[in-house]
């Protein structure tokens, strides 16, 4: 049986911790420990956070009003 690294092992090297991806622009966000919501520095969208562990943030969902407003602005710009 061959013992070289499998695809799974090779791709696992790129893992990140303490971050999640912005659901709008896919940028990785590293919120401050215990934060309840965070703003993506790249696109400005805001997300609510739940913590699965002290260093394990999860995007719980959008901050609805903020993201709705930003989306409407972006659509206006796109459809000009």
């Amino acid at each position: 049986m061959e013992d070289k690294k499998t695809t799974s092992e090779r791709t696992a090297q790129g893992r990140s911790s303490g971050k999640f991806r912005c659901m709008n622009c896919m940028e990785r966000i590293a919120p401050p420990a215990g934060a309840k919501q965070v703003k993506c520095e790249k696109c400005g969208f805001e997300w609510r956070i739940s913590w699965l562990g002290p260093t394990f943030p999860r995007c719980r969902g959008p901050v609805w009003e903020v993201n709705r407003r930003l989306t409407e602005e972006a659509l206006k710009e796109r459809n000009k």
Partner: protein, 635 residues
């Protein structure tokens, strides 16, 4: 010999039982589970038969790695001609049944004919009996399992059963085991019901021989470590699959109010963390460490205090997004009811949401609904419709027929409101913004379905280099691959690759959540090659396992073509092309599927499979897979 295993044939019309060995040559071509089941269906089912008639054949099987030291190797596969679509029927479920059936000495059970009265099949240590099930008929899935264990006086028995929906031939009735493990697509429960087969019980104390036990255990430890340390598994173990619904809803990929929106805004009351407040423990399937099934007690209402398991992503779609309800009570109650009646939660939610839209459009009236105000958001009407479908009462009798037959009965242009492919409703996701995912559901071999070829990691925004690592093995691919889910380029290959991957893993009996479905660094063909050798002494390269998946997918295609499948049916409902999305982040807004680009994707997809422009496998493709002489009736 690890592969000295058995297949059993039971004819319910005559009562004959025949147990045979499974030839090694067939094993190497199809492994087990879904692959071998598809071979049997293609060989044993005559074209054009009534799926609810005695000529239909139903297979219940274990994958080749089930009950070995391979992580999450507990999947049961159930297959027959589908009474919902008239194409291939195939469903794959968790729990402990397949492992117990293997411990009882049987890998594949093939049931034909129809019993005159209700019966169940009892498999125990190499023996099979057909037993009277008169007392079980009319019982829900939970009570049936209890009664069988009581009758046979053994708490360790595993039971695969139908609920009342299967007895009433609801065309999307499930096969169930334990509280919520569901063989939940294509109506396999209705096929069992049509045969007067209430359930199959298994109990075994026989060995499943392992070829290289110490090495197998050691290698499995490595896989377990890889899976349990991944963020997606940790999240799944804490929140279950609702975490997927929550994430998808955040950007606008969730089908809401039939197809009126792609996001359920302000749905915080039923998001994963809110469900978690009702969870009292977690359960898992055979050989799995993730434990993604929550256990809960219904908090209020007529079913207060009743235990349930889940809810899953699909239940959130069925009882929240689709009917536009944000009630925890409706979610947990509805989830419990579909599991006990034994119905596909996905189809139930879709059919009710369709009826709600028809009601709001004035196509259905109070007269049609027996006075029920079936508007979106009416949680009481939602739960009432679940009962009515299971027992085929009033409008429920129409909805129990599934999308196409129901639309035929309602008439009045109601078909254009259906969200289905090949007569099976779509997952409660909205693929208008994600062309790769849209292609997947359009071409899926069992009708619209995400578990047949969804390139789910397409949603992760992974760098192209990682995508290339994944999608360029075990066969070379140097075409386009793009990181954005909104693109069309490269997606046909991703779908075709995932189809082969999922078909192969369904032949092994390992859960899809332990494959590249959830993460790029999860096991795939290379790991399965090692597992097959260590557990079964079967030396197969990753490419040979790829060929097994490809063979499985092609024989399903042949079955469907024989039943009338054409290119025209590998398409989406018109609303995908014509109605722009209204919710979600900017990249998901105002999106439709572009017809021309979709056709181009379909051409590419066929080409990658070695099919012609009509989606028919070429002679060369069939020859390369050793399918050119099928059906051969070897087994």
């Amino acid at each position: 010999m690890p592969l000295s295993r058995k297949i059993a044939y039971v004819d319910l019309s005559t009562g004959e039982i025949d147990i045979k060995p499974i030839p090694l040559a067939i094993r190497k071509k199809y492994l087990g589970g879904r692959g071998l089941d598809m071979y049997i269906l293609y060989n044993h089912i005559k074209p054009g038969i009534d799926a609810l008639g005695p000529e239909n054949v139903i297979c219940i099987s274990a994958g080749i790695l089930v009950a070995t030291p391979s992580s999450a190797s507990g999947r049961t596969h159930v297959a027959a001609k589908s009474p919902l679509t008239n194409f291939i029927g195939s469903t794959n479920m968790g729990g402990f049944f397949a492992a117990e059936m293997r411990f009882a000495g049987i890998d594949h059970l093939v049931v034909t004919g129809k019993s005159e009265k209700p019966v169940y099949i009892w498999i125990h240590d190499g023996e099979i009996e057909i037993r009277d099930a008169t007392k079980l008929w009319g019982q829900g899935a939970q009570q049936t399992q209890q009664l069988v264990k009581d009758e046979l006086n053994d708490r360790e028995i595993q039971v695969l059963t139908i609920g009342q929906a299967g007895e009433n031939l609801v065309r999307y009735a499930n096969v169930m085991t334990l509280l919520k493990n569901a063989g939940g697509r294509t109506g396999m429960g209705a096929v069992m019901g049509s045969k007067n087969l209430k359930c199959v019980a298994a109990r075994g104390t026989m060995d499943v021989k392992i070829a290289h036990p110490e090495q197998a255990l050691e290698y499995n430890k490595k896989i377990v470590k890889e899976i349990t340390s991944a963020k997606v598994s940790v999240t799944q173990g804490k929140l279950g699959t609702p975490m997927i619904w929550g994430a998808t809803n955040s950007w606008g990929g969730v089908r809401t109010r039939n197809f009126r929106s792609n996001q359920f805004e302000y749905s915080d009351a039923i998001e994963p963390e809110a469900i978690d407040e009702h969870i009292i423990g977690w359960a898992g399937c055979f050989g799995c460490q993730v434990h993604c099934r929550g256990r809960y007690k219904i908090p209020s209402g007529p079913y207060k205090g009743v235990y349930g398991e889940g809810p899953e992503y699909t239940a959130q779609g069925a009882f929240c997004g689709e009917p536009g309800c944000d009630s925890m009570e409706a979610l947990l109650t509805g989830n419990h009811l579909v599991n006990d009646y034994g119905m596909d939660v996905l189809e139930v939610g879709s059919m009710i949401a369709w009826a709600m839209e028809l009601y709001e459009e004035g196509i259905l009236t109070l007269e049609d609904t027996d006075g029920m105000d079936l508007k979106f958001g009416n949680e009481k009407a939602l739960i009432e419709m679940v009962h009515k479908i299971a027992f085929r009462e009033g409008l429920g009798d129409i909805l129990a027929e599934g999308p196409l037959r129901a639309a035929q009965r309602v008439g009045k242009d109601s078909e254009k409101y259906l969200i289905h492919v090949k007569g099976m409703s779509n997952l409660h996701s909205d693929e208008r913004a994600t062309p790769g995912l849209a292609l997947n559901i359009a071409v899926s071999s069992r009708g619209s379905d995400h578990l047949r070829g969804r390139p789910a990691i397409d949603l992760y925004g992974l760098p192209e280099s990682v995508l290339r690592e994944v999608y360029s093995q075990p066969v070379k691919y140097d075409g386009p691959l793009t990181s954005h889910w909104g693109d069309y380029e490269g997606k046909p290959w991703m779908v075709r690759w995932q189809e082969t991957c999922y078909a192969a893993v369904d032949c092994t009996g390992i859960c899809k959540y332990h494959t590249i479905f959830l993460g790029p660094n999860f096991p795939n063909f290379e790991e399965w090659s090692k597992l097959l050798y260590l557990n079964c002494d079967l030396e197969m390269t990753p490419k040979e396992i790829w060929d097994v998946g490809e063979r499985c997918y092609n024989i399903e295609r042949l079955f469907n073509i024989r039943e009338g499948l054409t290119r025209k049916l590998d398409h989406l409902a018109d609303r995908y092309y014509d109605e722009p999305t209204k919710g979600g982040v900017p990249a998901a807004r105002e999106r439709t599927i572009d017809r021309d680009k979709f056709e181009k994707m379909l051409d590419e997809y066929y080409e990658y499979h070695g099919w012609d422009k009509n989606g028919v496998p070429t002679k060369a493709t069939l020859k390369s897979l050793g399918l050119d002489n099928e059906p051969t009736h070897t087994l």
